[in-house]
């Protein structure tokens, strides 16, 4: 069992470090100082963290205004409320206006487990990637999170960072260099490609190991930038491996798998499976339970890959 890390810690540490160098960096949250891990930022920069209360529409609107005034706001809040409640502000005040604001949705996907459908954020990728001029990044581990925060700060324009609260293992080497729009090939393979983002990346890697025992060489792609997506890496995967399985902690409607499938279908169509939350609200259960329940596991990814490779049912 490898050590698990909370990516929110890496996010907060990176933000604090950038803020130390760049006085334009400010943070906003909706009474979520602790759940966004910004307590230390608040101590270090008491005049640069604004807890605007439980009011997401105003929070995102204010961020646009702060950006208009020359600041680089990072808006950190539970993804479920940040994206759903303030969606029109995200569309009009950030993307359409072109505001240099970074949204940091935390506790994404099924992370809130038994707190239920109000707290699950399994539609946010679909919503945000549908908006023109939005950049959507789903880091997989603390190494990537740390770099994605820096890349978002350096990028001029609105960015959505999707940060889980679930413990994840480190999947990237220390010399890994994250780049917006660039996929990372974590494992070579020629029989099938497992494409994942966020919490599903270590699971895809584990599935690839299982597949090795089946005699199947699976390529693993971590596509952290869901938008703009790395079309070249996807086309290469389709051409070179002939089969694609996507996996995401998100609804299968319009999300990460859809983004990958859009490229596959319009360039080099190959058999594709999209694993994620089917179009249902999750039942009560811990996030780990729900991952099992919805088949977001190495075993399920393996089964889907075998079905594609062998053209039939899993053994």
């Amino acid at each position: 069992m490898s050590t698990l890390f909370d990516c929110r810690i890496a996010f907060a540490a990176a933000l604090e470090d950038i803020a130390r160098q760049d006085p334009r960096i400010v943070a906003l949250c909706n009474d979520s100082v602790s759940s966004t891990k910004l307590s230390h930022f608040a101590e270090a920069f008491p005049d640069r963290l604004f807890n605007v209360g439980i009011a997401e529409q105003n929070m995102v609107g204010m961020a646009a205004g702060l950006a208009n005034g020359g600041k680089i706001p990072f808006v950190a809040a539970a993804a479920c409320f940040l994206t759903a409640r303030a969606l029109e502000q995200i569309k009009a005040d950030l993307a359409y206006t072109g505001s240099n604001v970074k949204l940091c949705g935390v506790s994404t996907g099924l992370a809130y487990g038994p707190l239920g459908g109000t707290h699950h954020a399994i539609e946010d990728i679909a919503w945000l990637r549908a908006i023109a001029d939005m950049t959507v990044i789903v880091p997989a581990d603390p190494v990537e999170t740390e770099q994605a925060v820096r890349a978002a700060a350096a990028f001029v324009g609105p960015v959505y960072l999707r940060l889980s609260r679930m413990g994840v293992p480190v999947v990237h080497d220390a010399d890994y260099r994250f780049e917006i729009g660039k996929a990372a090939r974590l494992r070579d393979g020629t029989d099938v490609t497992l494409v994942a983002c966020g919490t599903l990346v270590p699971r895809a890697l584990a599935a690839a190991k299982l597949l090795e025992a089946d005699g199947v060489q699976a390529r693993v792609l971590n596509i952290a930038t869901v938008k703009p997506i790395d079309r070249q890496a996807i086309v290469e995967a389709a051409v070179e491996t002939g089969a694609i399985v996507t996996a995401e902690e998100h609804t299968v409607y319009g999300g990460f798998g859809s983004a990958v499938a859009e490229v596959v279908a319009t360039t080099h169509p190959v058999s594709t499976r999209i694993l994620g939350v089917p179009g249902v609200f999750a039942p009560t259960g811990s996030s780990e339970f729900l991952f099992e329940h919805f088949g977001l596991t190495p075993r399920s990814i393996r089964r889907a890959a075998l079905e594609l490779v062998r053209g039939g049912g899993a053994p």
């Binding site: 204010m62 702060l66 600041k71 502000q89 206006t97």
Partner: protein
């Protein structure tokens, strides 16, 4: 005072006339609300209230003006052109294919600070801008014009609380209180009164003025900030469709386009009014 209120009155009616002609040419626009707020925008831009420079529309220390009632883009464009932000000839492209003069304001137009049109967005954005100025100890201010029906959007009241909490006395909300929203009178749909009391209860310093009295508008803005540490609210009592007798105070003219005959009559009325 940098401008004679009588001259401002004339300039405001020039804007009204150009605006009406533009709406007629384009075959679209928001006639009633444009005319209602024309005196306020004329005062802000031509009356020397806003510290803005058409030659340098992105100057860091400019005053910000956010047109929250974005459907009145026609009035904003006409005023910006009159102020010199872009050539007046361009008004002929209003809502034409590929024109940057969209039916709602966007930042591609010099002088426009935010893409508005969805209601209830301007005040939160202006609140954030005012906060940025306060953080920097900068002298610039954030002005925002909302409609009155627009105040039914809850986001305004989120911002109202935040602006008060952050003591943003460099934030100026102007409410175009013409008492009519798209289909009917505000008080018959979801009433706003007592409106001034609401803003006071939210911690704002409130002035109620006649939104067509140029001297009073200029005096009011000259008195900013009204109280140290409190955001400013100007409730400008206005008449929707102001300046044209057959358009005034009629919900039906929210986005009705004047016919050729109506335009001629309206332009004549507005010309006579300034003589």
């Amino acid at each position: 005072m940098s401008i004679d209120p009588q001259i401002l009155r004339r300039r405001a009616n020039d804007i009204r006339r150009r605006n009406l002609a533009m709406i007629h040419e384009a075959g679209g626009g928001h006639t009633g609300g444009d005319l209602s707020a024309a005196d306020i925008l004329a005062a802000l831009y031509l009356g020397g209230v806003l510290n803005v420079n058409p030659e340098d529309p992105r100057a860091p220390d400019r005053d910000r003006f956010f047109m929250s009632k974005g459907h009145c883009s026609g009035l904003l464009y006409t005023t910006l052109a009159s102020t010199g932000f872009f050539p007046e000839d361009e008004l002929a492209t209003f809502m034409q294919p590929l024109s940057r003069l969209n039916g709602h304001p966007n930042v591609h137009v010099p002088g426009v600070e935010a893409n508005t049109g969805a209601l209830g967005h301007g005040l939160p954005v202006a609140t954030g801008a005012a906060l940025a100025a306060k953080m920097d100890g900068a002298p610039w201010r954030a002005f925002v014009l909302t409609g009155d029906g627009e105040l039914q959007e809850g986001s305004n009241w989120e911002a109202a609380m935040a602006a008060s909490q952050y003591r943003l006395d460099n934030l100026i909300l102007i409410v175009d209180r013409n008492r009519i929203q798209m289909v009917d009178r505000t008080e018959r749909i979801v009433g706003l009164e007592p409106l001034a009391d609401k803003w006071r209860a939210f911690g704002w310093s409130v002035h109620e003025i006649d939104g067509h009295d140029h001297a009073q508008i200029l005096d009011t803005f000259a008195a900013l900030p009204f109280e140290e540490g409190r955001p400013n609210c100007v409730i400008a009592h206005t008449t929707k469709g102001k300046g044209v007798s057959f358009i005034e105070d009629r919900a039906g003219w929210h986005h009705r386009v004047p016919t050729e005959k109506e335009l001629t009559a309206a332009l004549e009325e507005l010309e006579e009014a300034v003589e």
